[in-house]
Symmetry: C3
Subunit: 354 residues, 3 copies
């Protein structure tokens, strides 16, 4: 599947959140692979192919016992490395192994490496200071979205859509009117937009008020979207009272957060969208919960649009789309993905030749 | 798609009713084309391909502004003719046009021409006197039906099915027993049946009573089905007190209506069925509403049968069906459709050659 | 379809239960054939292809009249042998026949022969003494299951799965620990397991109590699964007070029943599962009903597992599975099925050649 798949396999993807595997194993398809995630013991995590070598039952229907995952059909126990550990009245030494996937728990997520295990290095995980600092607080959710994951990257790397898709929350015409700047920094793409001296849109107006600032004051608004391979998009967003320095304003003059988007391919036509936001920890879990709910509604608007867009593209497979300056973020991000896929394919064929 | 499609493209089809586009744009697939219908201004109507040339989002998720349709994803505005009109911070002069479809509002319906716009002439719309006369009143509805639209034409051009499918409303064994006559008149097909001196079936019995006539009197019943290309079927139906002249009886001795069927292909395996009836306007909207409800139930019986028939035909693709005398209406109608399709194909290849 | 199909066609399969056809015709797909079952008269049963030769409507939407099945679309009446019997205003003598399937009512089931009618002999029905004896009582149900019918045979011929899939009802670790013996007897396969001197699992504990025996007494438990072509599995199950002779113990020292499984292919990827149990008739319909309900829950657990297993196998079509000693029952049963299919194919080609 690797050579035709529209994603890089040798990369860390967010697979799930810890709460999804605390009580029992979780079956989830990631980058075309059906996987089962489980905790062999408290604090540990493992990922195997979700396929029992005995009769093909999904291991995710089983349970954990003595650190191994026991198939819920006939009791074959498989260890974290995919080795057949035991089975009642059977000698399992000759049983074929189950594929194991490198997996790491960090930053409040379970990360999986769908490709070559020999290349998996936790040092390659992104650096997410907000996830490990008591000064920040994170809240988010998960949507399964029936479209190519790259449509979501396009979406997040061009926030002019907020004016239309999110007209009642974060959209405002001033987004379209502000120039956008896109630059490529190695394997990352940054798209940024500054909107000086504008009224705050509804969600930011509420943010100002929550912070004790005047909601109707003119603000300098910013949006800095950063794509990192394989498919993460972090967006610095905020508003500062106009003329106080924008993103560089004093803490007391601005409100801001990091929109966090981990976009994990499920199949070529669907993906897992781990959405959320990190904001300054001001000891107000009620505000965090309210913003998470508001953000969930905003991203549900994206989901509706993207799924309809995908169906439209499916109906017109040969149609070329426009690539405007506002699309540069998505275009460059896709180029980086394509480059990674090509490099994997070339490494695979070189190693096959050798 | 044109050469394989089982429908004529150069024809007027009913696309929707005005109420479906009054509040916001309507996305609807017709003859395999995904279209968006909207009102650029009060009283006007336009139809475009439902595909934004920017990123492929459905334009039907957008809104109308200054006579143009604005895409709900990133704000590209397209005018009625499909030209890119404007987009925030963009020069749109080089944008590719969106396909526009000829569209007309008449007779209480929006009509669309899916084929070559150069051939679209509103003069080709059918002549529907009942739709423009205060002496008549129309009521109807819309079903999406999961079968080839030609199965619906077959159904309507052979009313012997009423005896079986609509046994409790308009069916009666006397339909089967009466001889049926089918004739071809140019591009139209007429199937007619006269049933002299029979009891009225339940729905007509009610009609007689509503008109102040005896429900249990013997009647002369008639059914005259007329197919017109591309896929309209109008059926003159009625009962007169026996021996008073049947269809030619005095107004006071008969009850009658025109069953109106606009059958619009959606895909090769589904269609939009605009069903309804025109009847004499006697200032009784309550009766019109009651008959509309009764008719909706009758046509729901057809829907159930036709969808099951389609699944059966799909399961036996090579199976030949019988063509009896009662099937002549459908057979001749299909021949006319085939002739129109062939003529379009031949005109297309001639123009390609030239 | 025959040569590729994964089932024997020249065999008796359970099609339905009498109550399913008492009120009106029943449409059901069996071994890939869409069939309609009906009672031409009280006590009689017939099966035809569910396809009207007139316009392809499903005959199962029709009704029985004078011993014939009348199509619910336009009234063609077809007799039990598939001959067109009559149609209003039509001469039907030249109408093509509808395929008729040999069908028999026996043992409380309707049995159908999807293959060559010339080979259908009711003498080939299985011998089911419990179904005709007042000493026994039967209760069961029907599930449509989205998997290859052979996965259900595998399931029933290896009851180690009870420990895992049915942990709360009939499962216990002692099943896995007891040796299993599999033998082939002509066209039948028998897998048996004896579990001496163990505690009874919950369902059997209840059975002991219902019979006035101590639920917590040690028991000798037995399971004897018998596969018969084309796809029936009968399982002798029971527990006797330990040391009283197991299956041979006196009636007063044991409780037992016959688990009855008729597994009828619908399509290559789905089947009809007629599940049930025969037990001694002790004049307690309340107990029979309670056990039927409990058994329905147990088999719903199988359904969930098997449908997920099928989806997993579909996702990994080339993957080889293990064949352990516990799988011998299924493996041998499949060999017998394969042999029957091959014999049919060879007979067909021989007769084609001749």
């Amino acid at each position: 599947m690797a050579e035709m798949a529209p994603w890089a396999a040798n990369a860390w993807y967010v697979a799930c959140t810890p709460d999804e595997i605390d009580a029992k194993p979780l079956g989830r398809q990631i980058c075309g692979e059906r996987m089962v995630f489980f905790r062999p013991r408290a604090g540990a995590v493992a990922a195997l192919e979700d396929f029992c070598p005995h009769r093909g039952a999904p291991l995710s229907l089983g349970f954990v016992e003595d650190g191994d995952l026991v198939c819920g059909y006939h009791g074959l126990a498989v260890d974290c490395a995919g080795r057949a550990a035991r089975m009642p009245s059977q000698r399992v030494s000759g049983f074929p192994p189950t594929r194991a996937f490198p997996v790491v728990e960090r930053y409040g997520f379970i990360w999986v490496w769908p490709g070559d295990p020999a290349l998996a290095d936790p040092a390659g995980l992104p650096d997410l200071p907000w996830a490990e600092s008591p000064d920040w607080v994170y809240a988010g959710g998960l949507y399964n979205i029936a479209c190519d994951y790259r449509l979501m990257i396009d979406n997040l790397m061009d926030l002019t859509h907020e004016t239309y898709v999110h007209a009642t929350s974060v959209g405002q015409k001033e987004i379209d009117e502000a120039p956008v700047e896109t630059r490529v920094e190695g394997d990352e793409v940054v798209t940024s937009r500054l909107m000086p001296n504008i009224p705050a849109p509804p969600l930011w107006r509420q943010g100002l008020i929550d912070a004790g600032l005047p909601g109707d004051a003119p603000v300098d608004r910013w949006q800095v979207c950063r794509f990192s391979p394989p498919s993460h998009v972090m967006i610095d967003v905020g508003v500062a009272l106009a003329g106080r320095g924008g993103p560089e304003a004093d803490l007391g003059d601005k409100v801001f957060s990091i929109v966090v988007d981990f976009i994990t391919p499920e199949t070529p036509a669907s993906h897992w969208y781990f959405w959320g936001a990190a904001s300054r920890n001001v000891g107000r879990p009620d505000l965090v919960a309210a913003r998470r709910e508001a953000q969930g509604k905003v991203f549900a608007e994206d989901r509706a649009m993207l799924e309809r867009q995908q169906r439209n593209l499916d109906a017109h497979p040969g149609r070329r789309l426009l690539k405007l300056n506002i699309d540069a973020g998505g275009v460059h991000s896709r180029r980086i993905i394509d480059r990674l896929i090509a490099a994997e394919a070339s490494a695979t064929s070189a190693s096959s030749a050798a």
